[in-house]
Symmetry: C2
Subunit: 315 residues, 2 copies
């Protein structure tokens, strides 16, 4: 399959939008940002062996490559619109490409994201995606707005993806529900957009709760105090991992792509409404105080130390 065949196969399957003036097939895409909206841009690359286990199904890789990028838009409270795709492939296997597109385009269709351009190169398997979305001026959910006295919340459950990775590394069959969380993360777009009205700050959890909350605390100039027992766990995680290893996965495991957001205590009822309206589990996990860094406390009120820090490249 030549590069041109590859691009034609992709182009043949791509849906468009009215604000795409010119999509795949020219030197660049031509796009129309709605009047009065700001552009939100995020980019994330997935490499085999680093961001997904070797042998991951092509459709899951396609889904995840877009999902981790849409999660960044969710964390900014942006409405997604367009994406580009840079595919580096070791060979031009049409079956692999079609399966990859099955996953990628299924998630794109769900959120009306148009694939408007990209490139294909020969090399080790690597998928680079850049996503574009919109937000009203002043309505983006940034990392730097947390204030002393605010509450800390998370969507969904934590630690599932890291648990699946641990099972895979151990060579076990692994739990299907946990593996689904690793392979098919669900970007919290509806929740992110709704929460922007009440939250002071937000971030998505890609490197692990402590690591990502640490970024947010540093940006905001505050300390985050987390209640270990409050961290939400899925029934699959609880069944497969007992404390303390479960706590380690919840507090430091990456790849869940849940949102962590900071809101004033007065927002409690609004948050409950948003949880119901967007069908998103939302759980209180701690408080913002003066200081710096992230501290985690166990059920006895003693400071808890994670078994290891969240995943970091080049660490």
């Amino acid at each position: 399959m030549s590069e041109f065949d590859l691009i034609e196969r992709i182009r043949a399957r791509v849906a468009s939008r009215e604000d795409v003036i010119l999509g795949i097939g020219d030197d660049a895409a031509l796009l129309q940002v709605p009047a009065g909206r700001q552009l939100v841009v995020a980019t994330d690359t997935l490499n085999v062996g680093v961001h997904f286990p070797a042998g991951t199904a092509a459709a899951d890789i396609g889904w995840k490559a877009l999902a981790v990028n849409l999660s960044d838009l969710a964390a900014m409270a942006a409405e997604p619109a367009w994406c580009t795709l840079s595919l580096s492939l070791p060979d031009g296997d049409p079956a692999w490409l079609e399966a990859f597109l099955d996953g990628f385009l299924a998630l794109a269709a769900e959120h009306r994201v148009a694939l408007v351009g990209g490139d294909t190169t020969r090399g080790p398997l690597s998928i680079g995606v850049t996503v574009h979305g919109f937000v009203a001026p002043g309505r983006a959910l940034r990392r730097d707005g947390a204030r002393v006295g605010d509450d800390i919340w998370v969507t969904g459950t934590l630690g599932d993806a890291a648990a699946a990775l641990q099972q895979w590394r151990a060579g076990e069959g692994g739990d299907a529900a946990l593996r689904l969380r690793l392979d098919r993360p669900v970007p919290r777009l509806a929740a992110g957009q709704a929460l922007a009205a009440v939250a002071h700050a937000g971030i998505d959890i890609s490197d692990g709760l402590i690591a990502d909350l640490g970024h947010l605390a540093r940006s905001s100039g505050v300390r985050a105090e987390v209640d270990l027992e409050a961290l939400p766990a899925s029934s699959a995680l609880t069944a497969a991992f007992e404390a303390p290893s479960r706590h380690g996965l919840q507090a430091t495991g990456g790849d869940d792509y849940e949102l962590c957001f900071i809101a004033p205590t007065a927002a409690l009822e609004a948050i409950e409404r948003i949880a119901r309206a967007t069908a998103t589990p939302i759980t209180w996990i701690g408080r913002i105080v003066a200081g710096e860094g992230v501290r985690v406390f166990d059920a006895d009120g003693a400071e808890w130390q994670p078994p290891r820090h969240g995943y970091e490249h080049f660490a």
Copy 2:
């Protein structure tokens, strides 16, 4: 060097612009597209051994990674504004990164392009860049506007980068002027923006003149007829390569990142003015006729066949 150190090193050196509301350091960048302008987006990834020879200087890799993307904006007649950078590095060598940034940011500064986000991952050396620019509605230079009777023009000289690659592959010392064309392509931004007023269509030459003109002819539904002897050659190329190998490099060699554009014959004087105003050599090389594909004719009027097709991934 950790991922966070890497990002801090990059952030410390990046210049901003007034339309960057939020740059590196959050989940996504927040950007303001000017009222009444369309957004132009292109993305291109460079892999070691495919897009530049192993051993290429880090500063040259940085320059080229941005240049090939800006060349796509030039081919659309867009004014560049922002970019994101996805760096995959085999290790976290600070000296390599600083040298890479020297080249990347030098070109960015020249065109007031702000680096607003990206990511860093561990893996084989690979550089993915997405560039964003603006164009007035209806003023983009597309591939699909060539008409029968139009003239075909190119900027600069052709075949230099491919000649340098050939010398490098042969293990020769190589000509420094040719190698500079391979390592430091100059995106034709000023010429592209000026030509949009008179040209019907345009494309940048990355895969070789015949291959890229073929894309344009297909998009426009026309045939391109090229005069082999008219193809511009640098003095360095002429000194190092005699015909017919020089003709092969000019007609099929990739990586020069010159513009090929299509204009009505009445635009001749305007094109000469643009060449002077933007200090860009511009050369007539052929005509658009009815039909399809690209045909090249030698000095005797006989149809000329290239020694091989332009570079194509997965070929």
